[in-house]
Symmetry: C2
Subunit: 199 residues, 2 copies
């Protein structure tokens, strides 16, 4: 990029690697950072390094954590009876934000994607089945994504878990709250009708 000082070019190139950040956004971010007080940029740099240094996978549920086992696994106010299965830690956090779920979690670290060469053995499925051995879990709530891969993974898991005498549930599909039916996609709307409930 002509006219850019080398440290700025380097920063822009680095920022371009972030998801959803093209050259224009990267430039905008770089100029914003250049205007920021030095201490604030240092704080950002420190927090970037801190996540890589301190964060690891919980050996029980495979959530990301800075303590072992993670805060959720060690929280004795949570129920051991319901285990919510998600694909990624980000999904776990999305569910936690709702404050609607007070059981435990299990992070699969992905979904079954045959086309990308990801099979059941690449996910934390064996570890999930081990957690069901002691009979404490009465319900497995499968909250994999409402996608082809997420649904296939859910179906695969339900076939493994049901024979253990554990109830298997799936999060509901339907129209998103606050949306407009006119703009809902037809697959979602179809699922919402199929899953209609008595009022």
């Amino acid at each position: 990029m002509p006219g850019f000082a080398e440290p700025i070019t380097t920063l822009i190139r680095q920022l371009c690697k972030l998801p959803g950040v093209g050259e224009k956004t990267a430039s905008r971010l770089a100029f914003f950072l250049l205007r920021l007080p030095r201490e604030e940029v240092e704080e950002l740099a420190r927090s970037l390094l801190a996540v890589k240094e301190k964060i690891q996978s919980c050996p029980v549920c495979f959530n990301l954590t800075d303590v072992v086992p993670c805060e959720i696994c060690r929280d004795d106010r949570r129920s051991d009876g319901v285990l919510c299965v998600v694909e990624e830690p980000a999904d776990l956090f999305a569910i936690e934000r709702t404050r609607q779920f007070r059981g435990r979690f299990h992070v699969l670290q992905g979904a079954i994607r045959p086309l990308d060469g990801v099979g059941p053995e690449d996910l934390k499925i064996r570890e999930l089945l081990e957690r069901l051995q002691d009979g404490k879990v009465q319900e497995v709530l499968i909250a994999t994504n409402p996608t082809t891969e997420g649904d296939a993974t859910a179906l695969y898991l339900s076939r493994l878990v049901k024979p253990l005498g554990v109830r298997v549930t799936r999060i509901a599909y339907g129209v998103p709250m606050g949306g407009d039916l006119e703009y809902a996609d037809q697959v979602t709307l179809g699922k919402a009708i199929e899953g209609r409930r008595e009022m």
Copy 2:
């Protein structure tokens, strides 16, 4: 945020300070960074710190630079006859990307904004007039933003510069290339008609 390990929360809070980054985007960026190899995150952190350490304003044109004077001011293949005046370094870089301008630059470091308490004395206007003293500059091309403030600043500058016997020009207003007239806003379209040229 419940369920988030502290270093992740800190990083998300830091990322939220970036322009155009809300909590959702910040989470998405944080999880992306968590999946990235440690070396790449370190490289990003280093380049953040490098811009704050190495970058300063060029004392001649007030562009951001890691050498003094900046690459543009020291480039003897560029013409001294035309001086392009911009509000911010980002505008200078936008013009450089076009490769249509081979003169020198002058960065005002803002525009006149009476409502925000920014007057002419807060901008690098005195320094601009000083650069015109030796008579080398024959044209000042004013490339402040096509906004009320940018236009007011352009008008203010033209009144100061014209009496020095220097030609003052303004970048053209018009419809953006590749756009559709149907979606052009009416002010821009009005300016495009007003500024029409013979074919």
